[in-house]
Symmetry: C2
Subunit: 135 residues, 2 copies
DNA sequence: CTCCCGCTTCGAGCGCGCTCGAAGTCAAGG
DNA sequence: CCTTGACTTCGAGCGCGCTCGAAGCGGGAG
């Protein structure tokens, strides 16, 4: 594991993690990380070592972390791709902000809805507990 | 629309809605409602009129509403089916309660996680707004 | 020199949750 | 009697987000 890290890291003075390490840090699989890159979710293709292996920088990891946050809050892949494209081309700050704004509102709404449902589930659980206690 | 309601309702003294009406009330499609039934998500098959049409009672609608709550909070179809089966067979209160308990904890955890991500998104938005204001 | 291991690309496959269309039935209205 | 329209069943199809396996390469250890 440390040996593996050294494999790539030693060649470039500690900078750059392999795909497996990066994946583990982000809570994804190597397959998924490559898939995200293929699918244009990354601002730029990840740098490669001389032998063609991906080498993830700290900036790559920060971006990917943001992607996981967007995914975990339900932003579709397509929309993340759009956002990434805007970043890639530079500028477009208003549009990027608009995407984040819209997403935030959706997430807030969904959060409120889930909280409402959770309340109903709580009440259902209370009923079961009363029912079971009454025996 | 009111005419449609009468079609089925008039035959049985106001009790029982057609699939389309029930679907609309629950925020689902008629296709989905039939699919749920086929898939065993309902405690019992919905009653039929003489002509074989489904007729949803108030109790059906309450159950389906619960199903939509469970779905909206991310419970998988399979698990709802299991829960429905336990209800169908009668008894099994502890197991039903256990399912709801487990689900509640998952939902709470996921809620907390999403709130965390939302905070990060908020901060990102702030950065953009500062950046744009600084022009 | 050979072995092994982790990476590479590519394309197919999968699980989930619907979603839809075709073809047929039935009851009421004109 | 004929049309209309909401219903019925059945099975196929789809969109999403991965997930996986095959086949090949390159570089360090024994």
């Amino acid at each position: 594991m440390t040996t593996t890290a050294t494999t790539t890291a030693a060649t470039a003075g500690e900078e750059g993690l392999g795909v497996a390490e990066a994946a583990q840090l982000c809570g994804l699989t190597a397959h998924t990380l490559r898939y995200y890159e293929r699918d244009g979710l990354l601002v730029a293709p990840v740098r490669r070592t001389a032998s063609g292996h991906r080498s993830y920088t700290a900036a790559d990891l920060r971006w990917i972390t943001m992607v996981t946050r967007l995914r975990a809050t339900g932003m579709p892949i397509r929309e993340i791709r759009t956002y990434a494209e805007l970043c890639r081309r530079g500028g477009h700050e208003e549009e990027r902000l608009a995407i984040l704004h819209a997403h935030r509102e959706r997430v807030r709404a969904q959060l409120a809805e889930v909280q409402g449902h959770l309340g109903a589930i709580d009440r259902k659980i209370d009923l079961y507990e009363q029912h079971l206690a009454a025996r």
